[in-house]
């Protein structure tokens, strides 16, 4: 077994507003094999995401494995609506970086 980072397996890792009250995260793979690998590793789950971001699981509104696009997708409720005074990420586009270093166990 070896450990690789999610950023070495995924083609796209991004976050963006989904409406005014939520931010949605997409982890997209080019190869089906990498998608299945990460999906089956258990490293990306509701529970793991909640722990990574330090939030309660009920702040995750959707968690979907989207086979047609080889993608794992989840959505969280914002603490306050986008663009409220004090909001530092009005587009929600810089909330994904903690995902880059998530470790995935891979068979040699």
């Amino acid at each position: 077994m070896k450990v690789v980072k999610l950023s070495d397996l995924a083609k796209t890792i991004r976050s963006k507003n989904a409406g005014t009250d939520k931010i949605t995260f997409d982890i997209i793979f080019r190869e089906k094999a990498n998608y299945e690998l990460v999906k089956n590793s258990g490293a990306i789950s509701k529970e793991k995401i909640a722990r990574l971001y330090g939030i309660e699981e009920n702040r995750i509104s959707d968690f979907v494995e989207f086979d047609p696009a080889y993608a794992i997708k989840y959505t969280i409720y914002r603490e306050k609506p986008s663009g409220s005074p004090g909001d530092a990420d009005i587009f929600g586009s810089q909330q994904y970086p903690p995902l880059l270093d998530v470790e995935i166990q891979v068979n040699d």
Partner: protein, 459 residues
């Protein structure tokens, strides 16, 4: 269906926000699409433009894209549809776009055509009447039912139109349509549904086209895309020479900016994409089959967006270099907050800090709790009812970072660096007060549709 297929071109995912690319649009226009469609709206720009009634995009960029589309559409004699005029789709933005269309018609000496436009603004009285009739205004995305208090905090409300005003405008013979706030999907679905194409495929085509080249790869915004619908499928083709619509890019786009890739809600129902099937049709084209439209049971629900003013706002910026101060930055900011509280009390203002170098971007979501940076940038925002008070709150909140009392700090001549010793006026602070739905008997009751003859207006 009046024909076997219908082809729509979309040059831009948000008309005016950044100018469309000319080459791919010209290549698309050369194929003579049946409709020229583009959405100009977004809630991404924050609540300020809707609440304060201004555009987020420069006038010249809006005019650039409208001119590019109008000239091509009128030369060809094809209809043109613009949704959510001027970023917010509020009344003043619709009027702005109608005026631009009139100006362009005169500039290019265009043959007469019919221009339809509609307003999406919702008067507060309309919703108060709903309250009085005991009807609930249901919250979206975990929000509670709308209260009278929230309504009173709101400066401006728009309803998000579905296909209905667009189909009505096309039936009235419109050559150009300028829409108020609308679902971006609806402006593409409307002409296809009007011509009798299946609703599932029609809405799906809208969903794919609404962000233009975001459904193509490699990544590149503001390039034209053409969608073609038949009774059996939707085909999407990238027009720019360097892009293709692939299975990966089109399927991937289905989830863009949406919380769930399988379901999409519009006024009148839901698009179910669970059984979508994607095929590479040719090098630049992806073919999609299988989306299904599920009509709403009971009354049609229309989404409402509302923005309310929080107050006037100033911004201050401070830098910190001392490692001891960086380590204790939370205590420093507590000190500064305390000084504001001593002057203004607990209420009547808002004070925010974004600490770049620590957790300025992610705030509480930041997993790295300790800063490894050798310097920090602190952005302070003060919000209050008057500009004078907002300025003083921000000035206190920023300058007191300089005077923070830390027991072991070596630098006793100031704990912060300023690149200028002042605070800057910013746009007023607003917040999204309404993200709700209202049930309607008639989907047109919220949309005020007009049709004018442009030649008469011009001459």
């Amino acid at each position: 269906m009046t024909s076997k297929s219908l082809r729509l071109i979309c040059p831009n995912g948000h008309l005016g926000f950044a100018p469309s690319k000319r080459e791919s649009f010209d290549l698309g226009a050369k194929t003579k699409p049946d409709f020229y469609c583009c959405d100009s709206g977004s809630s991404d720009i924050g609540p300020g433009p809707l609440g304060g009634d201004y555009s987020a995009s420069p006038y010249e960029w809006q005019k650039h894209d409208l001119e590019m589309m109008l000239v091509a559409a009128r030369n060809q004699g094809a209809p043109m549809i613009i949704g959510s005029a001027g970023d917010t789709g509020a009344r003043s933005r619709v009027d702005l776009y109608v005026q631009i269309i009139k100006d362009l018609a005169r500039k290019h000496k265009m043959a007469p055509f019919k221009l339809a436009y509609f307003y999406s603004d919702v008067p507060k009285e309309y919703l108060k009447n709903k309250f009085n009739q005991g009807e609930a205004i249901e919250g979206l995305d975990g929000r509670k039912e709308l209260t009278l208090e929230k309504l009173e905090q709101t400066n401006r409300i728009v309803a998000v139109a579905g296909i209905h005003p667009y189909i009505k405008a096309l039936e009235m013979g419109a050559d150009v349509i300028i829409g108020g706030r609308s679902s971006d999907i609806a402006i593409f679905a409307a002409p296809a549904i009007k011509d009798g194409f299946p609703e599932g495929l029609s809405y799906y085509m809208g969903k794919t086209l609404e962000c233009a080249s975001f459904c193509a790869e490699p990544y590149g915004a503001k390039e034209s895309i053409i969608g073609e619908i038949t009774a059996e499928d939707v085909k999407v083709t990238a027009m720019s020479p360097y892009q293709s619509c692939t299975v990966a890019s089109v399927a991937g786009h289905a989830m863009y900016e949406r919380s769930n890739p399988y379901f999409e809600y519009v006024a009148g129902g839901m698009i179910d994409m669970t059984n979508c099937h994607y095929e590479q049709y040719d090098e630049k084209t992806c073919q999609v089959t299988g989306p299904v439209f599920v009509p709403v049971e009971g009354k049609i629900k229309v989404k409402l967006e509302g923005s309310g003013k929080v107050g006037e706002r100033f911004v201050g910026i401070a830098g910190v270099r001392d490692p001891y101060t960086i380590k204790h930055i939370d205590k420093v900011l507590d000190w500064a907050r305390e000084q504001v509280k001593e002057r203004f009390g607990e209420e009547g203002y808002e004070l925010y800090y974004n600490v770049y170098g620590k957790n300025g971007v992610m705030g509480k979501l930041e997993p790295l709790k300790e800063s490894n940076c050798h310097e920090l940038c602190i952005v302070c925002q003060g919000v209050a009812q008057t500009r004078e008070m907002a300025e003083e709150v921000t000035m206190t909140g920023t300058r007191q970072i300089f005077y923070a009392r830390l027991p072991e700090v070596k630098g006793t001549a100031g704990t912060a660096a300023f690149s200028f010793d002042e605070v800057l006026p910013a746009s007023a602070a607003y917040k999204w007060t309404i993200n709700h739905t209202v049930s309607v008997d008639d989907p047109m009751e919220l949309f005020d549709l007009h049709l004018i003859d442009i030649k008469e207006e011009v001459s």
